[in-house]
Amino acid sequence: MSPLTLFHLAALLLLALGLMGIVTRRSLVGMLISVELMLNGAGLALVASARLTPAVDELGQLGALLVMGLAAAEATLVLAIILVVARRLGSSETARVSELKG
């Protein structure tokens, strides 16, 4: 297998792990962790594509950097949301967050 495929498969592995995690996890923090896994996969795929194909190298790296920035922003926001949820409902488990349920 060529290096590009190998790196892409690794990225896919991250995506799959993240998806699995998001479905199986029951707490918001666990889901956040899974999302981070997926974002990492995205970054890895971007960089691999940029480094090993005729595409512009810098763009891939910039893309990965922006993904990291977004991940940081997202983590901040999710942290705040988790705090609010935990404070209001006394738990950060998704099953208990059911205020809108009829």
């Binding site: 498969l9 690794a10 998806l19 707490s27 918001l28 923090v29 956040l32 942290l79 705090l83």
Partner: protein
Amino acid sequence: MDFLAYPAYGLYLLLILGGGLGAILSQSLVRALMGLILTLFGVAGMYLLMAAPFLAFMQILIYVGAVSVLIFFAIMLTRSSDGGEAGREGSRGLGRMLLGLIAGLTPLAILAWVVVHKAPTELPLKPEASLASLGQYLTGPYALAFELISVALLAAMAGAVLLGFERRRAR
């Protein structure tokens, strides 16, 4: 890739796999976080393997140094019952796992097929992109994206602070 790269790739893949499994399967959230960190190191290693050390170090600096610390904070502040989740109860937990496997494996299978069979033309590893050219792209044609990221970060920060304050008022 030269002769050392394949073992290195294998090692990093193992880090990613082991860490990822730890991150999604372990009962204790702090252990899951440690799994995530292991994965992050694996990804950083892959960046290094692709001769993108800047990204590798940024990965460690941002993800390991900042994001995972934030997550740790989230775990601590929500007092997620000893950092663990309530036990997955019997059959429902099993169903969940099954769903998770489907959710994970389906896209993996489809995309893997695409990646393997529709691989684009491939070049050998290009020489390392200089930091200066990265910067030029960031301040030149892609300045808007750069600014947008900073706006997003600012918005996230402001939003987080706002949410925090709201929480305090609600008390």
